[in-house]
């Protein structure tokens, strides 16, 4: 547990040593800010629904960019050997890196808290969906981080890790819009695999144990896969 914390803090600090953190955060804020506010005054609704409905798509590109370096960089410069010969287990490493990435995405969301604060000046804002939205965003971010972590553990090339991560996250994001093409017999399964519907439920302010269970399972599956990949490549 202590080792996880030490690794997580180290990885989290690493983001802010290099310019990556600032570039990714600015990019995220510009993209979400523009798409949200460009239509905000046209609709004239005092809520964050449009902001949250965009998150799955932006996250599926931004998060793989954050997680791509977690393992690939270490493998590339060779520090992976240093890491694995320290008294830490595979689980410590995988979880430490996962928490660091999740924490970083959470800190990326902090500036967006200014949106509901500003909106509350110009209209009555319902706090339920906002709190739910942020909760959902954290769950979604954590799930995508675990996917990105897994993608990064597969290769020593950061670009490959980014593309694999994007492909997996994007598939989960748009899956429920693709149901149309699926054979009717398996639709009832596929329907639940997509991430967007689960996220939308939470961001409406409906906290359903099924949605939470979905995100927890995705996180578990991908962190466990990361563990298996580490074990296999060792």
């Amino acid at each position: 547990m202590k080792q996880i914390k030490i690794i997580a803090i180290k990885e989290f600090k690493d983001y802010f040593i290099s310019p990556i953190a600032y570039i990714v955060i600015s990019l995220f804020l510009i993209v979400t800010g523009w798409f949200f506010f460009s239509t905000f005054f046209i609709f004239g609704r005092a809520d964050l629904r449009d902001f949250f409905s965009l998150l799955p798509i932006t996250f599926s590109f931004i998060i793989p960019a954050i997680t791509m370096r977690l393992f690939s960089e270490e493998k590339n410069i060779g520090s992976y050997e240093t890491l694995l010969t320290l008294p830490v287990s595979f689980t410590d490493i995988a979880l430490g890196k996962f928490f660091a990435a999740t924490l970083f995405t959470a800190s990326m969301l902090i500036p967006t808290i200014s949106y509901p604060i500003f909106i509350s000046f110009i209209g009555e804002i319902d706090s339920g969906p906002v709190i739910g939205g942020y909760m959902g965003a954290i769950f979604l971010a954590a799930a995508y981080c675990s996917i990105g972590l897994f993608a990064s553990s597969l290769t020593r090339n950061q670009i490959v890790a980014f593309i694999i991560g994007c492909a997996l996250c994007f598939t989960l994001t748009i899956l429920d819009k693709l149901l149309f093409f699926m054979p009717t017999k398996i639709i009832w399964v596929i329907e639940h695999i997509g991430a967007t519907s689960h996220f939308t439920n939470i961001s409406k302010g409906i906290i359903d144990s099924r949605d939470i269970l979905y995100f927890v399972s995705v996180i578990f599956i991908f962190i466990f896969s990361t563990y298996l990949v580490m074990h296999e490549k060792n």
């Binding site: 180290k10 690493d14 240093t82 694995l84 320290l86 287990s89």
Partner: protein, 318 residues
């Protein structure tokens, strides 16, 4: 201290380490010697738990790999080849991270240890520099400080002197010798003189097998002394000098070599292979030359024992 039995590592079809068994006692400095690609690094990586052996067992103290991997890893200080460190961290931050992860929780203790290590490895002037800006030798020193962080009982160093300048090599060797008095050290190298100068025991590895494993002195005695004499003369001509030298003993092999300086003639003189005694001809040569008006610029005897063993054991097809 360390017991390795039938250790084997396969990478797909390639067998990098083939059935290695050895025991390393406490306080020993073992040099792993071998040509490039012989399996030195793979062996060390298995000892430190980075690679999982394909078969065979590793026992360190009372712990078994890979069951007690974490315990073993905290016993060992390891310097990987070319010291791969986190490039974007400062040296101090890096050492602090390592100290924390190796379980030195107390701030005072950490600080004391940093002072000791920076003295030992000469880090005091680079503590505030990013690792990426350091030269190779300095990185190696940071790696060494990393390996010695918890004052481990076993130190494993993979080619600790490769790519360093002569001064740095001498420094690293001094460090190894100093700490080797109390610790068990295994290090790999392909520089023979280095192994000869620092190790108590040498294991020569070729194509994944241990082809020789003995104390440095025993190894040297195991082959016939293959010494040669370097002679450089001033004021002599090649042919007359050769005839004169031949007249000492007809069994001497005299080989022309590139003169060490302009205007000299230089020879490499070896005793003929079929002679069993290892007579020292230097005094005979001196006396013979004294009769002439030539001047002896150089007359030295060199031993080639380890080179010869190494070449014999690791030759292609051997």
């Amino acid at each position: 201290m360390i017991e390795v039995q039938n250790l084997t590592k396969n990478f797909k079809d390639f067998r990098a380490v083939d059935n290695i068994s050895m025991t390393i006692r406490k306080g020993e400095i073992l040099g792993l010697l071998g040509p490039n690609g012989a399996g030195k690094t793979t062996t060390l990586r298995m000892l430190t738990g980075y690679f999982r052996p394909s078969s065979g067992t590793i026992k360190i103290k009372d712990f078994q790999m890979p069951k007690d991997a974490i315990r073993i890893k905290s016993l060992i200080g390891y310097l990987p080849e070319s010291a791969p460190l986190y490039h974007n961290m400062l040296v101090y931050d890096y050492l602090e991270y390592i100290a924390k992860i190796k379980g030195i929780d107390d701030k005072e203790k950490r600080y004391d240890r940093f002072l000791q290590l920076s003295d030992l490895c000469g880090l005091s002037s680079i503590m505030d520099k990013p690792i990426a800006t350091l030269s190779k030798g300095l990185k190696q020193r940071v790696g060494l400080a990393h390996a010695m962080m918890t004052d481990p009982q076993i130190l494993i160093l993979d080619e600790p002197t490769s790519g360093l300048d002569p001064n740095q090599i001498a420094e690293i060797r001094d460090i190894i010798k100093t700490i080797g008095k109390e610790k068990t050290i295994i290090f790999s190298t392909h520089i023979l003189s280095e192994a000869e100068a620092t190790c108590d025991r040498i294991a020569i590895i070729n194509k994944g097998r241990v082809v020789a494993d003995d104390t440095t002195d025993n190894l040297k005695q195991s082959v016939k002394q293959n010494s040669f004499i370097n002679l450089s003369l001033k004021g002599a001509s090649k042919d007359t000098a050769k005839t004169l030298l031949k007249s000492i003993d007809s069994n001497l092999n005299i080989k022309d070599v590139e003169p060490v300086e302009e205007g000299l003639v230089s020879f490499e003189i070896t005793n003929s292979d079929d002679r069993s005694d290892d007579r020292d001809f230097r005094s005979d040569i001196y006396l013979k030359i004294k009769e002439t008006d030539w001047i002896i610029i150089q007359l030295t005897k060199k031993s080639q024992a380890l080179e010869k063993i190494f070449q014999e054991l690791t030759r292609e097809g051997a």
